[in-house]
């Protein structure tokens, strides 16, 4: 086995390690849960951790592999979350098997997010650099604000829509409001479990890693490295850009589905679906190392746990969190820090090769 591991291709070995980390983490957590050694806080955090890992990995596809800065990732998460929660709430009494209902909700969330990815991607990907970042930021805000004026109710006559208020729905007396504007959707069944979350993380990793190592992935990276050169050898720039962007959006949608089915209330505000969230996801990616799938995974886990583990510091915890962010950033990226790391932290093995 070990020998086989050594003869494997470098990329295959690397991705195997990534999968192994997830599976080992899953087994350790499950073991701790069953033996009753896991704190309630961590048990509650398991599903959100999966959500953020998926988000970080999916954004890495756009930022790291495609090389475009997107600041609207939370928008796709929002779309996935709301469409799936809408479905689950409508079907709560029709489909009583939770895994089946969740699976259907997941498909819907992913599909809707992917459609939004395409719709937004077509005009946006004509831009690049700062312009792209600004427009994606705006789109994220548009999605959030659209959700906030959406009212949907259902009664014996079917669905009613309004963009003003609940009275505008003109429902019969027996009607129930499903999407209540800024109050969002309440009463989504709690279908997300750690097992489902882990499976979704593995699927996300599988998709992103395989895409990166495929012919399409190499084309995408060629566009990142030099657009003109890529075009000159016949790579369809628009197609590959859109492909990466849409897959990334769809995966973010999946994360949204997981998020929505973990809490019984879902409302779109700046903290969960606005630019704050988009920036946090970007922080995961940047701190984990742009382009490094495993890195963004680990960064997402650490940075989600950190504010919770720092609760002992009361009101100072967000201050400490910010300082830790800065220190991590310096440690990861400052030239002097890199030099120091290479000198002292190379673990005595193989002096550095000329990588990068």
């Amino acid at each position: 086995m070990l020998k086989k591991l050594k003869t494997m291709k470098k990329t295959t070995r690397s991705s195997m390690i990534t999968y192994a980390i997830v599976i080992v983490a899953f087994i350790v957590m499950q073991a701790l849960t069953y033996t009753g050694n896991l704190s309630s806080l961590l048990q509650g955090l398991l599903v959100p951790l999966c959500t953020y890992v998926i988000l970080a990995v999916s954004l890495n596809l756009v930022v790291g592999i495609l090389g475009e800065l997107s600041l609207g990732h939370a928008g796709f998460m929002c779309v996935g979350a709301f469409s799936s929660a809408f479905f689950s709430k409508c079907m709560r009494d029709v489909i009583t098997v939770a895994p089946l209902r969740f699976f259907l909700a997941l498909l819907i969330g992913i599909a809707v997010a992917a459609v939004f990815g395409i719709i937004i991607g077509i005009p946006v990907l004509r831009l690049k650099g700062d312009y792209l970042a600004i427009v994606t930021l705006a789109f994220g805000e548009i999605i959030k604000n659209l959700v906030n004026v959406l009212f949907i109710g259902v009664d014996s006559n079917g669905f009613h829509f309004s963009t003003k208020d609940v009275m505008g729905l003109n429902m019969e007396a027996d009607g129930t409001v499903i999407v209540n504007g800024p109050q969002g959707i309440t009463g989504t069944p709690k279908d997300s479990t750690f097992l489902i979350g882990t499976i979704l993380v593995l699927i996300t990793l599988f998709i992103v890693i395989n895409l990166t190592n495929s012919r399409d992935g190499r084309a995408i990276m060629a566009i990142r490295d030099n657009r003109i050169a890529a075009e000159s050898i016949g790579i369809n720039v628009t197609k590959y850009k859109l492909m990466a962007f849409t897959i990334s959006a769809a995966l973010a949608g999946a994360a949204g589905v997981l998020y929505a089915h973990n809490l019984s209330t879902l409302s779109a505000n700046t903290n969960n679906f606005g630019y704050n969230m988009s920036i946090s996801i970007l922080v995961f990616v940047v701190l984990g190392g742009i382009g490094s799938i495993r890195g963004s995974m680990i960064a997402a886990v650490i940075l989600t746990l950190l504010p919770e583990l720092l609760r002992g510091f009361a009101d100072y915890r967000m201050l400490i969190y910010a300082i830790v962010l800065i220190l991590m950033m310096l440690f990861n990226w400052a030239p002097k820090a890199i030099e120091w790391r290479e000198k002292y932290l190379s673990f005595g093995k193989r002096k550095k090769e000329a990588v990068k």
Binding site: L38, S39, N148, D315
Partner: protein
Amino acid sequence: MKMMKKAASLALASALVVSLAACGSNGGNGGSDNSGSTGSDTFMIGGIGPTTGDNALYGTAVMNGIQLAVDEINEAGGINGYQISYKFEDDQSDPEKSVNAYNTLKDWGMQMLVGTVTSAPCVAVVEETHADNMFQFTPSATSVESIQYDNAFRMCFSDPSQGSVSADYIADNSLASKVAIIYNSSDTYSTGIYQSFATEAQARGLEIVSAEAYTADSNSDFSVQIQKAKDAGAELVFLPIYYSDASLILAQADRAGFDPIWFGVDGMDGILGVDGFDKTLAEGVMFLTPFTPTSDDEAVQKFVASYEDEFGSTPIQFAADAYDCMYVLKEAIEQADITPDMSISDMCDAMKTAMTQVTYDGVTGKQISWGEDGEPSKEPTVVQITNGEYTVL
């Protein structure tokens, strides 16, 4: 480089596992709460609310309000002879963080929850307390779903009751027949009240001539909303919003030469304390509130005095609700003869019945009692601002 990367990620991963395990064992120590009892001789009361972020004002007020009550109760000998341990966790008014805060408190050994402060997080947390069968008592979460289960009670009025009570009050006293509304459509509290107000107003024959919304992103310029209300000939403008926005609306309406009757809800409490606000503009403003710091009531004055001593500011309604919450808990615990060595679930079951039996006189109302649905029944008071002071009507 490759090797180093691998080693580094290995180190990180193992550090993570170690830290997780550390938390795990922490949970193990305090985690006997899973089996129900902490084996200690104190009541473990937890509180959740935003002490950082946009709504920090409310969370801090609740935190202080509970603290004050806990200190007083402990000094006077505790509940049934047992002292209270109290811990408050921050949730930044975010449902996800609120659930985290709840789980943190559970690890600490919480037996009853006073919280959460804001509505949306409360909806998420009540799902958890219901699953654990833990007693929950929110001082200030107003939305209907916040206490949808039988283990949850609240101290404040619900959104629907505030809206319909306001409409009834306006109709009963024939204050106006043409009503305009300006509300914050990005806020659950505001839209909740607006919806119930509009429904009740329709039933009571009040004519709503304009209902204009704004959002948290556009809460500095209200000229459009004011102009529409003015053009529609509104005699009364209903403001189901918080005081900071309301103070801007009053100032801008004054500049536009628009002077209707202003009617607010409990969020209007505190408008006289806004920095740089011309108090004469608020002259005649009416609003519903369960608590006025200037009331002549003895209990209120005692509360306000000790709050000011302790924290150096005048308590707002949130602090008063929280203060009352703690004393109601005390009464109910005494009523049901609960001791700290009972399991969380047994406590909750005993509290469910005890809560419907207590009648409580506090700073936010007299003769307050609770139904099985967890809603308090208390008389709302309408307050009018005259000569820069709150006067009860």
